[in-house]
């Protein structure tokens, strides 16, 4: 048997947004899925495998789109996959999912697919909703008119899936047909040369190549120029041709729909919920309440698994230390790699939960209502209504926030959203805020207002101000010709599909671990090397002196001596040297070189600040005991001035620094992944650090 005959048949799933396409995909493939990348774009490539009666089929889930004409990164994918020059990479069959209640909109895309000459079958999904709305569709009429096999399903109710499977198995797809004669709109003098040059099988494919070839980066630049010069030479207006095509196509579809859909006294869709959820006042109250509820839940629920993970990795480190022979390799594993992996894994509960909630909001149809409510308030800052999702997620953790920004179609709005999301005060800043506020802000109440709580609120607000200011700045700096538009469907409210919610949580966490994990691990190892090694002779001397002291020390002071030695070792490590190196730079902010070390190590993650400070001021092993750290810090005296190291000015300056500074390599890694390069994460890190520096400088001078 030759290679090509055993090749797994490839079926692409396509459809408008919100038609239940992903549900069908999940039910056909189960957990048998793989999420990859399309080259050059950040759209997830979802592939799954369906086994049916001993045969395997590869199913490709294309992003939702309204037409073959791409408007966003998502939609380019559908266009590119279906028009792929390489026939081997093109799907063999296409399964189009249509919302039964939105027949004409679905048929618009379906008839374009017919004209493309793909082997097509149509699934009319949400048959239950159509029945509820008293819409009766005569499938056979559509089949007669289009020549495409068609069946009805209700994927949420698991109805009709067996038919889809057997349809695929029997390869019951349409064979070459056409719906619209594109040569009535586009002259043959344009179509013919394209068809010949690229060996295309019909005029519609030639038209697609003509329309989008010049912009498609997957095509040879020389060929792109050739297409462009062909268009220019004939002085043809392709855009009005597209409008004409749309008009004619919809006209034909409208008469088809009239002949095959029977509406019996259509009931008005229930809009009772929207009366509250989209209300000019109550809408926002509901939104805020839902947000509060989500954060409350995340902070309460996620802390349990996070503590467990923290403890588990500490134990693994200890275990590695015990089992393996002492040496550089062992400490690399126990102090570099294991905590590095732990630093990735610790984010999983938050990421998974946040994506779980987002999936629920998305699936019920509420999320597009939020976009509707917030668009007006986001736009003056160069953001889109959809930016609200990343920004809100950013309060828990910037990583899922940045990942959620990919839904924004407009490049400029997406980049601005990604760049400002890490300025929202995330949960990792909380330990830093708490310990510093505890040091310098008295725990007094003014009426019902607690001064410490007020300060904390102020820091969060400062982050939001940073977001708006930066977004505004970027709005004027970044140039984009791309049109921004909202045009979003507010789907009927439905109960969430729990299986899909769980799958989303799983796949998003996996993406984070696999993609960002590598970078995080690499940086952790580098930081470990810098913190563990220093000039060898000096380090050795400290170690020896430490051992001598330890031998002389009485039983109850041994821990203190050990802590002092490790503190000395850190001071003289490369990171310690770097800390001293940056002291002149950070002195104007009110920091000494010890804080400098903590600033460097906490680039890994903000909460590391607390543990580093604890190590440097040799507080001993119990990092969790916040009180002891606070007391120790409070006692630190600056030898030069005789004042407290953590006075009001320094502490506030540090708080403000942490509000704005990037200080999170996981975010850097995710921004790298989402923007496909180092340009934006670098610009972002430099900008945030500079902003943090000057804001901290200002703060220090105000308070001192």
């Amino acid at each position: 048997m030759s290679e090509s005959t055993v090749r797994t048949p490839k079926i692409a799933l396509i459809g408008n947004p919100n038609v239940g396409k992903s549900t069908i995909f999940n039910q056909l493939t189960g957990l048998n899925q793989k999420i990859g990348n399309y080259p050059g774009v950040t759209v997830d490539k979802k592939t799954g495998w369906m086994n049916y009666e001993g045969s395997t089929y590869e199913i490709l889930d294309l992003p939702g789109t309204y037409s073959l004409y791409p408007n966003s990164e998502d939609e380019i994918i559908a266009h590119r996959v279906l028009n792929h020059i390489d026939k081997e990479k093109r799907p063999d069959y296409v399964l189009m999912v249509i919302d039964s209640c939105q027949l004409s909109r679905g048929l618009f895309l379906a008839t374009q697919l017919i004209d493309l000459g793909v082997r097509l079958a149509i699934v009319l999904n949400m048959a239950d909703l159509a029945a509820k709305k008293n819409i009766e569709i005569r499938n056979y009429e559509i089949y007669k008119s289009l020549g495409v096999p068609i069946l009805s399903t209700d994927a949420r109710g698991f109805k009709g899936l067996e038919q889809i499977k057997s349809l695929i198995h029997e390869k019951n797809f349409s064979i070459d047909s056409s719906y619209l004669n594109i040569s009535e709109i586009i002259p043959q003098s344009l179509l013919q040369p394209i068809r010949e040059k690229f060996d295309l099988r019909n005029d519609y494919r030639a038209y697609q190549m003509l329309r989008f070839g010049p912009k498609d980066r997957s095509i040879d630049p020389e060929d792109r120029l050739w297409i462009q010069s062909l268009i220019t030479s004939q002085n043809f207006d392709l855009e009005s041709a597209q409008l004409e095509e749309t008009t004619i196509r919809y006209r034909k579809i409208t008469s088809l729909v009239e002949s095959c859909v029977v509406k019996k006294e259509a009931k008005k869709p229930s809009s009772a919920l929207d009366k509250i959820f989209l209300h000019p006042v109550w809408g926002y109250v509901v939104f805020l309440s839902i947000l509060l509820l989500i954060f409350q839940t995340i902070f309460t629920w996620a802390s349990v698994p996070m503590d467990l993970i923290d403890g588990l990795f500490a134990e693994i480190s200890g275990w590695v230390n015990d089992v393996l022979p002492a040496g550089p390799l062992t400490s690399l594993i126990s102090e570099g790699i294991v905590p590095g992996i732990g630093g990735v894994v610790i984010f999983i509960p938050q990421i998974a939960m946040l994506f779980g909630f987002l999936a629920i909001l998305e699936d019920t149809g509420y999320m597009s209502r939020v976009v509707f409510l917030m668009d007006r308030w986001m736009r003056p800052f160069g953001l889109h209504g959809k930016s609200i999702v990343p920004l809100v997620s950013g309060v828990a953790c910037a990583i899922p926030g940045v990942m959620a920004a990919r839904n924004i179609g407009n490049w400029k709005e997406k980049i601005i959203t990604i760049l400002v999301t890490p300025l929202m005060s995330c949960s990792a800043r909380l330990p830093v805020y708490v310990i510093l506020i505890g040091l310098v802000v008295p725990n007094t109440d003014y009426g019902i207002i607690n001064l410490q709580a007020l300060t904390l609120l102020g820091l969060y607000l400062l982050g939001i101000i940073g977001v708006l200011f930066t977004a505004l700045l970027l709005k004027f700096i970044l140039k984009s010709e791309e049109k921004s538009f909202l045009m979003v469907e507010l789907p009927t409210y439905r109960t969430p599909r729990w299986k899909d919610v769980v799958l989303t949580m799983y796949s998003k966490s996996k993406t984070f671990v696999m993609e960002a994990g590598k970078v995080i691990l690499a940086i952790s190892v580098v930081l470990w090397v810098l913190a563990s090694y220093g000039p060898p002779s000096r380090m050795e001397q400290i170690r020896q002196e430490g051992e001598e002291k330890l031998a002389l020390a009485p039983e109850d002071e041994q821990d203190a001596v050990k802590a002092e030695t490790s503190s000395l070792l850190l001071e003289n490590s490369f990171i310690g040297i770097m800390g001293r190196g940056i002291e002149p730079v950070i002195k104007p902010l009110g920091y000494d070189w010890k804080i400098g070390i903590a600033l460097i190590t906490s680039f890994a993650a903000r909460e590391v600040f607390v543990s580093t400070i604890a190590t440097i001021y040799s507080i001993g092993a119990d990092v969790e005991d916040e009180l002891t750290i606070r007391q120790k810090l409070d006692q630190q005296i600056n030898p030069a001035t005789g004042e407290k190291v953590f006075n009001k000015a320094t502490a506030f300056s540090l708080m403000v620094f942490y509000v704005f500074a990037m200080q999170c390599m996981s975010t850097v890694a995710v921004v790298y992944r989402e923007t496909k390069g180092w340009k934006w994460p670098l610009i972002q890190t430099v900008y945030m650090t500079a902003l943090a520096y000057f804001a901290a400088l200002l703060t220090y001078n105000i308070f001192s």
């Binding site: 209640c101 409008l243 989209l278 000019p280 538009f485 045009m487 507010l490």
Partner: protein, 75 residues
Amino acid sequence: MHITADTMPASKSAIIREIAASPLKINLMELGFLPGKTITLNHAAPMGGPMAFLMDETLLALRKSEAALIEVQLL
């Protein structure tokens, strides 16, 4: 009387007459905003925010500037 959809009174219905020429025209048409269709203004976000129109039993949100491209005749 011909007006544009952004000036429609709340909960009133209108028939689409024409979509004005604009780079966004094609997007509106793809969504189904076509001459002859009936739309109802169901919701409007405050302070000139987006508007939600009911068309063919679907609720579609548009920015005010996008709705301004739709010429309608009130019913």
